[in-house]
Symmetry: C2
Subunit: 128 residues, 2 copies
DNA sequence: GTACATTTAATGCAGATGCAATCGCTGCCC
DNA sequence: GGGCAGCGATTGCATCTGCATTAAATGTAC
């Protein structure tokens, strides 16, 4: 075992990451839920979809970009679809694949939620 | 760290935090569970308890140190107690309070798990 | 001393997550 | 074409989490 860093520094850094993350994520989760009815994961999905020009992506692509497991992503997308924020469509060339499209409502929701997102980040991330 | 000014930088930094955290936490969670039968939260509790000289702390103190909600902490400590890794005792002077003691088994478990913990941190944290 | 507010921890409940199993589809090899 | 391994996404299940509520103890005002 080659300890490139001292153990103390490693643990200290981990604690710092743990604290920062939970601080920011906690506030984000609450604010997004209260003000926009979105889970943090749901927002992150909408956010990623709105970054793409075509506004549609396969589940796989999304999963690769994100921290969610396949099943969690599947359910999160299902929730978004249920609320009309995205639509799912079979991929014609490979009918196993599923495309996720951002709907106009989804884009609007994401745009609104982005305000909250940035606000919370500005408030809790820079001090971390 | 210097304060972040542009929105883009803020979001970028948040994404980075999100990615780092989930990368490390995911590996930690799996490794601690498989090799020591501990949740990440459970390990963090044991870890904090073993840092104190007296090896006992009120629930409140623990909660203040950690990212867990009060209820999550209560249940995590209950699980640890069920497995004999800590004991709970009423505080005599204020019978609402509860002291959490690290048991010898708990200390042993934490010592063993710390190896895994450091190993995973060394492997996944330094690149983050 | 009695009534009321506050504090501390535990618990009911609903929601999100991950793992493992599953189902449908594709591609390959014969 | 037929059989079979592998891929992509969904679903069953158990667990962990947070919020709101509850129960018990303490503190305060009168």
């Amino acid at each position: 075992m080659p300890p490139v860093r001292s153990e103390g520094a490693l643990v200290k850094r981990w604690r710092s990451l743990l604290t920062s993350y939970n601080e920011v994520a906690g506030h984000l989760e609450r604010a997004l839920q209260e003000q926009h009815g979105l889970t943090l994961s749901e927002f992150e999905i909408l956010d990623r979809l709105s970054e793409q020009e075509c506004e549609k992506r396969r589940m796989q692509d999304l999963a690769a970009d994100m921290y969610l497991s396949q099943s969690a992503l599947s359910r999160a997308v299902a929730r978004l679809e249920k609320h009309g924020l995205v639509t799912r469509a079979m991929c014609e060339t490979d009918r196993r694949g599923v495309f996720v499209h951002l709907s106009p409502e989804g884009l609007a929701r994401r745009t609104a939620a982005r305000e909250t997102h940035l606000h919370i980040l500005a408030k809790h991330l820079q001090l971390a």
